[in-house]
């Protein structure tokens, strides 16, 4: 009896690892990828310990002294939002910090380069193109970004740093309100 239970548990563990491996093959872990570029990406989870409500904010910054794109949602949607932020950084001009700034953000460039060279960006994009049925859309990338934005319930702001003050200005999905945007 004990042996049967042990085999059942072992079988479940093997199946779980297969499933995890399968998912990992389909879509890279974007938060893990972004962790390699801490000068470009900040990710903070804030949990109100009184009511257990938790929010995650991912910020893409040109530089420590410049302005940043900030994305926020509840913790339950943080994985989807991380994928959105990653794709936004790689494919959306409004999020490509470093390209328009006078002081180029080398980390931003490096993240984008890695995403292209190693196919991470395409893998994430392909995963969601299928999931959200965006292949036939006029602009499949924009379709995926829009679906991710709405699915994750992203609240987008522009974080402007001035001295010890950070001002969060409402931006909307297209980054409207960004005084430095293209």
């Amino acid at each position: 009896m004990r042996s049967a239970r042990a085999w059942s548990i072992a079988g479940l563990l093997v199946m779980a690892s297969w499933m995890q491996a399968g998912l990992a093959d389909e879509k890279p872990d974007t938060l893990a990828l972004m962790k390699q570029y801490p000068a470009f990406v900040e990710a903070i989870r804030t949990t109100d310990l009184n009511d257990r409500a938790a929010k995650v904010r991912i910020t893409l910054c040109r530089s420590k002294h410049d302005h940043c794109e900030a994305f926020e949602t509840d913790a339950g949607h943080s994985g989807t939002m991380a994928d959105y932020a990653y794709l936004c950084a790689v494919y959306d001009n409004d999020c490509r910090h470093g390209e328009h700034a006078k002081t180029k953000g080398k980390n931003a460039d490096a993240l984008i380069q890695e995403a292209k060279d190693k196919g991470y960006g395409q893998a994430v994009l392909d995963y969601y193109t299928t999931k959200y049925d965006c292949a036939q859309a006029k602009d499949p990338t924009a379709c995926v970004l829009h679906k991710l934005y709405t699915t994750a319930g992203v609240h987008r702001t522009i974080a402007e740093r001035d001295g010890h003050t950070i001002s969060y200005v409402e931006a909307g999905e297209d980054g409207e309100g960004d005084p430095f945007g293209e």
């Binding site: 801490p38 989870r45 949990t47 009184n50 740093r161 001035d162 001295g163 010890h164």
Partner: protein
């Protein structure tokens, strides 16, 4: 109890305590919102106590090693800033204030005079490595690091 049940219980307990509140900050929840701030890039955790009224807040933050100082400072802050009293989850407990004051006076050698509370608060702010922030809801949301007295700090970010 079967070993695998014990293991399951242990795993559940570990999971539940990972995001638990530090014991020193439990009573702080009665007078303010206690926030756990996890840096997902570096894995570090900070704690912040928010005193808010009508969207504007005074917030105090430190690391996990200084939560006792944060807790005691919070009791004394509310006691000296009654404008926040109407916005607390529960009423301020005079015994908790007295306890924080007596613990601090003893630890930092603050004499029992008119300046005792200020002396203890100042010592706690320094010893607890506290940072103070102001959150203002205007046209945009402004989040600003201020000094111990809530005043503007000249200069930029590091």
């Amino acid at each position: 109890m079967k070993p695998w049940i014990c293991l399951g219980v242990l795993v559940m307990m570990a999971g539940a305590s990972a995001a638990g509140i530090p014991p020193a900050l439990k009573s702080t929840q009665d007078i303010a919102h206690v926030m756990e701030i996890e840096d997902l890039m570096h894995g570090t955790v900070l704690y912040r106590v928010d005193f808010c009224e009508k969207g504007d807040c005074d917030m105090f933050q430190t690391d996990a090693a200084h939560v006792q100082e944060l807790a005691d400072y919070s009791q004394l802050f509310l006691d000296t800033h009654p404008d926040y009293l109407n916005a607390t989850p529960k009423q301020l407990d005079p015994a908790a204030v007295a306890s924080a004051l007596s613990r601090g006076a003893k630890q930092y050698g603050c004499a029992p005079d008119k300046q005792q509370t200020q002396c203890v608060m100042h010592a706690l702010f320094k010893a607890g490595k506290l940072k103070r922030y102001a959150l203002l809801q205007k046209d945009a949301t402004e989040y600003e690091e201020v000094d111990e007295d809530g005043q503007y700090i000249p200069g930029g970010y590091d």
